[in-house]
């Protein structure tokens, strides 16, 4: 069976266009489409697992046309975005408006597009779809805080988009090509200064979505304002896609000691800033938002270790992404009421927290373990100590959070079940043996 990866994008788009015609059954239609897409993403993952990187041409072969380029990490992210999207949708079942369902599908399609496309301008287009859908979804709670968050997100997001576009324009002016691999092959011919300027623009633009410090001013407000289901969607969808886009930028297009170094220190700053700011936070959602920032920093550190620790960098980011996506989305669902009454929510909450802190055999442990091995092979002891420091702070506030969430009150089943299932992913990815082979395959076809 031939797996057409383009269906991952085409099907949700088609159904988003279709929903206004079938308003009455939009909820069930959306669920079935999300399920279908999850199945596709699993097929794509297995395809990548068996054959290595997949390329799928659209309309014309590149560089004049566009293609999708799917490596192990993007297949994983496509899986996370689609499967988690389907599971998380259960928590938003109360939303009746068909427009909400359309926006949800579009956000999923956009995030998937970012990770599987092999064309830099196409990536920008999907960024736009994701961002615009996210603004609307954040504001969908219609409370004052939600609207405030959405507006901040929108202003910074459009600033970021402009910068991405500028970066792409600069690259195109020099390379006459938009295909990522085409650019990567000839990047050495580029004027040195323009290369760095365009890198700076792209990093800034994508960094806004990827919650890097100091571009992440919108993060706490948005996560605080958005409803739990949407906060969860944002934590595993757009932000993960954006950090992966940064990885492609860093590892494929602009591989150099300088960019790695800059990414490393931005990652460290993001990590420390997020964790320290979360430490004294009293609002659960804000705390989780700051903690997300910290985790994104950790993932960026993992990506920036590719110069020496390449053996460990990709598995580290692989496991960190899984761990953070599953654990944080689960915790955002928990933050709906912050009460762990039933056994299911207890299981979900504790597993998520343990995975984030990095306890074996959960995915978070393997992520941190490979990250440490990578950092040790580059002898970055200071970075390791800073990560330790942030880890201890993280343990402190998560323990506090866990204690606060003890209670007899139970959450609705529509929150409890997705939460438990989402947490299970960090357990499953830590234990399944074939995952390691998947994680250890090289990023982007042979870096």
């Amino acid at each position: 069976m031939v797996v057409h990866a383009v269906l991952l994008i085409a099907i949700p788009l088609l159904s988003a266009f279709l929903i206004p015609l079938i308003r009455k059954i939009s909820k069930w239609f959306t669920i079935s489409i999300l399920t279908l897409n999850s199945i596709f993403s699993i097929l794509v993952l297995f395809e990548v697992y068996n054959k290595g990187m997949i390329y799928e041409i659209i309309a014309f072969s590149p560089p004049v046309g566009i293609y999708l380029a799917i490596d192990n990490l993007s297949a994983l992210l496509a899986l996370i975005i689609n499967v988690f999207g389907a599971i998380n949708f259960v928590s938003t079942l109360k939303e009746k408006s068909f427009k909400f369902h359309m926006l949800y599908l579009l956000a999923i399609a956009g995030s998937t597009g970012i990770v599987i496309t092999g064309d830099i301008f196409n990536m920008f287009v999907f960024f736009e779809i994701t961002a615009v859908a996210s603004y609307a979804l954040v504001a969908s709670k219609k409370s004052e805080k939600a609207v405030e968050g959405a507006i901040k997100y929108m202003i910074l997001g459009s600033l970021g988009s402009t910068f991405i576009l500028m970066g792409i324009a600069l690259i195109y002016s020099q390379m006459k090509s938009l295909n990522i691999y085409d650019i990567a092959n000839r990047i050495s011919m580029m004027n040195e200064n323009i290369k760095w300027i365009s890198f700076a623009f792209l990093l800034t633009g994508i960094g806004v979505e990827a919650e890097l410090f100091p571009l992440n001013g919108w993060v706490p407000d948005v996560y605080e304002g958005a409803s739990s289901g949407i906060a969860s969607l944002l934590s595993f969808g757009p932000s993960k896609a954006a950090i992966y886009a940064i990885a492609r930028l860093l590892i494929v297009i602009f591989p150099s000691m300088h960019t790695y170094e800059i990414a490393l220190w931005i990652g460290v700053a993001t990590l420390l800033m997020g964790e320290i700011a979360a430490f004294m936070q009293t609002d659960a959602k804000r705390m989780l938002a700051y903690s997300s920032i910290g985790q994104m920093g950790l993932i960026l550190i993992a990506f920036s270790l590719v110069s020496q620790g390449i053996r460990y960098s990709i598995p580290a980011s692989f496991f960190l992404i899984v761990s953070h996506a599953s654990a944080k989305s689960s915790l955002f669902l928990l933050s709906h009421k912050n009460k762990m009454g039933s056994a299911l929510t207890k299981y979900g909450g504790i597993t998520a927290v343990l995975s984030l802190i990095g306890m074996p055999p959960l995915a978070g442990f393997w992520g941190k373990w490979y990250l440490f091995l990578g950092a040790a092979s580059e002898k970055l002891w200071l970075v390791i100590i800073l990560i330790f420091f942030s880890g201890i702070i993280e343990a402190a506030y998560f323990a506090r959070y866990l204690h606060r969430s003890i209670g007899e009150e139970k959450m609705e089943a529509s929150y409890a079940y997705p939460m438990a299932v989402l947490s299970t992913f960090s357990l499953a990815f830590g234990l399944l043996p074939f995952i390691y082979k998947m994680a250890n395959m090289h990023l982007l076809g042979g870096v």
Partner: protein, 243 residues
């Protein structure tokens, strides 16, 4: 303090932008070095740069005279699908957020006579121009986006001159949906009848004639309808919002 800081930073920002563009203009030359693809599907690619390919081979490959159209719809059709979706997302978002805030009962002031009568005359021409722009997208400058927005501005004119003018929203959104579905289906048919998504599977026809260039006109018509109805509905949504 904040104000001064922002002024200083803005100045530095623009200075550095100037520096960047100076750098570009000083090193502006077409790079025509040969490709060195490691990745297998690119082996057949030509030994020429992408812009040159566009200029030279567009007519043979797509049957469109207007290179821009060929690029937008054919070579980078996927981007266009994305752009259309961005607009669609924005329109949906606006509609979603303003959903409960409508009021249609308010008395509104009439516009003056010249505007009312003038718009009656202009409207058919505006719609015709818009339709022309997107139907002739593969032959003359223009295409779905400008055509659609011209049509939308025609409706804007109507809204300005007749405050009670009201388009049926349901029909607009059905139109919008159908146009979007058409676009994606054309792409999916490419997957079925040809090899790739959005690949041309129709006869290219006589280059330069109205019915030529394969799927390009079809897509552009869809895009035109879509953009027109979306923009119109966005404006209507904003207009109808309660104060």
């Amino acid at each position: 303090m904040r104000k001064q800081a922002s002024v200083v930073i803005t100045v530095i920002f623009f200075l550095s932008l100037t520096f960047a563009f100076y750098q570009i203009s000083s090193s502006y030359n077409y790079m025509e070095n040969k490709y060195d693809y490691t990745n297998p599907i690119n082996e057949s690619s030509a030994n020429e740069s992408v812009p040159q390919h566009y200029i030279k081979d567009t007519k043979n490959e797509t049957g469109a005279i207007n290179v821009v159209t060929a690029i937008v719809v054919e070579y980078r059709g996927f981007d266009t699908l994305g752009e259309v979706t961005v607009l669609f997302t924005a329109a949906t978002g606006v509609g979603f957020l303003l959903y409960n805030l409508y009021s249609r009962k308010k008395n509104k002031r009439e516009a003056n006579l010249i505007l009312r009568e003038g718009s009656k005359i202009v409207l058919p021409f505006a719609l015709l121009t818009g339709a022309y722009i997107f139907i002739h997208g593969h032959l003359t400058p223009g295409g779905g986006f400008p055509g659609g927005s011209v049509i939308a501005s025609g409706f804007l004119l109507m809204m300005l001159s007749y405050p009670k003018f009201f388009m049926n929203e349901k029909r607009l959104s059905v139109l919008e949906s159908l146009a979007g579905i058409t676009f994606v289906l054309i792409g999916l048919f490419g997957l079925i009848f040809a090899t790739y998504f959005l690949q041309n599977y129709l006869n290219l026809g006589n280059v330069g004639y109205l019915i030529s260039a394969g799927i390009i006109p079809l897509i552009y018509i869809a895009v035109g309808f879509k953009v027109g109805s979306e923009l119109a509905s966005v404006i209507q949504n904003l207009k109808e919002v309660q104060e």
